[in-house]
């Protein structure tokens, strides 16, 4: 393997030239989102129909190198490939046509004939499949123009969605594995650590701890055996960045791990992936096998005396395993419970050996930093949070999907410009309907209108009472009850608490009980005081990040939406009518016959109306007893 570099260069050149043998490339998005909308059927039908129309179609690059065949000049050959998540999940299934760069959105199987007739045969776009902005009705040709993409800065995700994740040659053709080669043959472990430290790459899994510092600590530890772990146990509800990276560009993660292994002197690695992500598991497995087959993993990599190989471990459904010490226990075949730190994993990690553990996105960023250098990397982002961050933008927003922006971008830009604005209960665009954005999942907090202009970076968000977390951004409109949101997260952490620390195990349960009281109208002033006190206690009395941050969604909403909490407790009303126990029944004027039965039955005389006319419930007097609902013979009250 002394000539790996030559091999890499050969593969790169062959692949690039090989692509020239095809007149056209069609890329069908095969991320989880588009697959569930039927993109694989579209892929199948495209293949069949293109063949039927007399074109030669390859699913994998078959013609490597330069072809001298006369056919080539006619350029009728088509390469039809599948990609990882292209990010614009809302508009899926997505089909991209090269070289024109048309991006077809919401494609259906029946659209395939049109694509062949107009685009493949006549080089014209299929106008009705191009993206049409809901804001101004304008049509956009492709990714370069669509505001959703144009306003982003995709570097980690650059390859994700444009390359075939199951073809290692394509990754190599875009300088893939050259950074690893450089790290193994031209740099010392110390130098590798220094570059990453200099770039100030902060952990993308939530905490924001500098990766380079972590590496250096592990490097300095003595040990005959060291491990590198990739943490892909992305359990935050509302987050799917790691899944997309693993599905769309698994080789970036592998290359990042190889570089980390070189930096700390490890010869074995683990990728820990959630079992809820079957596609990611499948693609990562294939990527590891391909890399092994090519000699990039295994013994004497790049002709050096170093060896490194990767095992894949599927999680078994425990959120707490995202915590590094819990994850390592899980890999060792134990209950995934966290351990006190110190000792840190760098000192005593997996099987008691020095271990470096990084998040998927962090590792996928590493090759880029080695390739371009720390200075270039720091050109984007802010001084203390350089680089870009991927976010999963979801909830009541027009363009949901996977995005990547420089750290320091404001929430306003993310939600209103890239996200295309807020949607109301009926799905119409209404930016005034914005209420809050939940960031950082069950560990994070909510931010409101007044926070829209703060820069999204690790430190500013903590100051504002939230955190970057793993990067889930859930936008909520005015119809969302914030107590229900807090309750949702509390229920989640309560179920996922591993039970080791009393305050986390029992405290989250009691906090959930108190929240239930509030939404059921059984709370009093003491409830709020207790809730807050208990929240502070859980934070203090828990060992790991799960417990330490579990009260955040409650405390942050209590702080920002105090009035809404008060309305529930003091006035027994849910201002947005989401809490069933607190919402006043309504009489449907279409169904009401004016029979007066409800008014007669009402124990507090809260219903008024003349006989034969539509009745009305007086909200201030109503005690939500439900008597009227049962009394009405016309089912007019609900």
């Amino acid at each position: 393997m002394n000539n790996t570099m030559n091999t890499l260069q050969d593969i790169k050149q062959n692949f690039k030239q090989g692509l020239d043998n095809y007149g056209r490339r069609i890329i069908v998005c095969a991320g989880t989102g588009c697959v569930s909308s039927g993109s694989l059927d579209i892929h199948k039908k495209l293949q069949k129909k293109i063949e039927e129309n007399g074109y030669e179609v390859d699913l994998k690059l078959r013609k490597e190198g330069v072809e001298t065949d006369s056919e080539v000049e006619e350029n009728d050959n088509v390469i039809l490939s599948k990609s990882g998540c292209q990010g614009f999940c809302q508009m899926g299934p997505l089909v991209e046509i090269q070289p024109e760069g048309y991006l077809y959105t919401r494609v259906e199987v029946d659209d395939v004939d049109k694509i062949i007739e107009r685009t493949i045969k006549n080089d014209e776009p299929v106008e009705e499949l191009l993206f049409t902005s809901r804001a101004d009705g304008e049509k956009y040709k492709g990714r370069d123009e669509i505001p959703f993409y144009e306003l982003q800065s995709r570097s980690v995700l650059k390859k994700c969605g444009s390359i075939d994740p199951e073809d290692i040659r394509e990754y190599i053709s875009l300088n893939g594995y050259e950074a690893a080669e450089q790290a193994y043959t031209k740099m010392s472990p110390k130098e590798v650590c220094e570059v990453v430290e200099e770039a100030n790459l902060r952990g993308r899994g939530g905490g924001g701890f500098p990766a380079g510092v972590k590496w250096n600590l592990t490097r300095k530890e003595e040990g005959d055996k060291k491990y590198v772990i990739c943490n892909g146990d992305e359990g935050d509800p509302g987050a799917f960045m790691d899944r997309s990276v693993l599905e769309g560009t698994p080789h970036s993660v592998i290359e990042g791990m190889m570089i980390a292994a070189r930096a700390i002197g490890a010869d074995e690695g683990y990728i820990y992936v959630r079992m809820e992500y079957p596609l990611a598991v499948k693609r990562v497995r294939k990527a590891v096998e391909d890399a092994r087959e090519m000699g990039l993993l295994g013994e004497n990599i790049f002709g050096t005396e170093h060896s490194f190989d990767i095992n894949i471990m599927e999680g078994a459904g425990a959120f707490v395993c995202g915590e590094e010490t819990a994850l390592m226990n899980s890999v060792e075949g134990k209950r995934g419970m966290p351990e006190p730190k110190p000792p840190y994993p760098a000192q005593q990690g997996l099987f008691g050996k020095p271990t470096n553990i990084n998040n998927v996105e962090t590792l996928a960023t590493v090759p880029m930093i080695i390739e371009q250098g720390a200075e270039k990397y720091k050109e984007i982002g802010t001084e203390d949070s350089p680089g870009t961050k991927t976010f999963a933008l979801t909830g009541h927003v027009v363009n949901t999907g996977l995005i990547e922006v420089p750290l320091g971008t404001t929430l306003r830009e993310i939600i209103f410009d890239i996200g295309g604005g807020v949607t109301d209960a009926k799905g119409n665009i209404d930016n005034d309907n914005f209420k809050a954005v939940q960031i950082g999942g069950p560990s994070g907090g909510c931010l409101t209108r007044k926070h829209l202009d703060i820069p999204v970076d690790f430190d500013s968000l903590i100051e504002a009472g939230a955190m970057v977390g793993s990067g889930g951004l859930v936008v909520m409109n005015q119809d969302t009850c914030m107590i229900q949101v807090a309750k949702f997260f509390m229920k989640f952490t309560q179920e996922e608490s591993c039970g080791k620390c009393v305050l986390c195990r029992e405290g989250t349960k009691q906090m959930l009980n108190l929240l239930n009281k509030i939404t059921e109208g059984k709370a009093d002033q003491n409830t709020l005081t207790k809730l807050e006190k208990l929240g502070q206690a859980v934070k203090k009395g828990s060992l790991c990040g799960l417990g330490k941050t579990a009260p955040n969604p409650v405390l942050s909403t209590m702080d920002l939406f105090e009035e809404e909490y008060r309305a529930h407790v003091e006035d027994n009303t849910c201002p947005v009518n989401e809490c069933d126990a607190l919402s006043v029944p309504e009489i449907d004027p279409e169904e009401c016959k004016g029979c007066t039965i409800c008014a007669k039955e009402c124990p507090v005389d809260a219903i008024e109306g003349e006989p034969q006319e539509v009745h009305r419930i007086i909200a201030e007097d109503c005690i939500n007893c439900g008597t009227c609902i049962e009394a009405c013979k016309f089912n007019a009250i609900s």
């Binding site: 697959v35 999940c89 899926g92 959630r274 999963a392 909830g395 996922e496």
Partner: protein
Amino acid sequence: MTQEKDVKTMRSFQKVWDVLEEHEHDKAQLVPILQKVQNEYSYLPEEVMNYIATSLDIPPARVFGVASFYSHFVFEPKGKYVIKICDGTACHVKGSMDLYDALQDELGLSDDEITTQDMLFTLETVSCLGACGLAPVMMVNDDVHGNLTSDKAREVIQEIKTKEGEDDE
């Protein structure tokens, strides 16, 4: 009948053995071993867990302790089709619990009874499937269905029912 059952159990133990062999009887690989065994049985029968414990030379309590820690492992058989309604944040704010209620109704299930009598369907919720762009979402075995409404979710189930009905004939 008894004989038939014995033959079945014996054959299955052979598969457990194969899994254990594949993982070199390494107790550190308990989680992947349990995953593969559960794929075989759709749940973890007690005698199989005992068998694994003996083979790995660890107490059965340890195997049960690990298995009961992770939500993926179950001790009751599941239906042929496992429906997981995503109740992640994005799905939740977009009404995932309405889907859950609709399917409970469609399948005649309750919070206490999650598997249908005919062992065809098991209905459960999952914290996040990571397909938030398509919320609300559910997964039927390995297939993800997105942008659902209660009616669409019912349709998916009805289609499976029809298909199963045809297979029986």
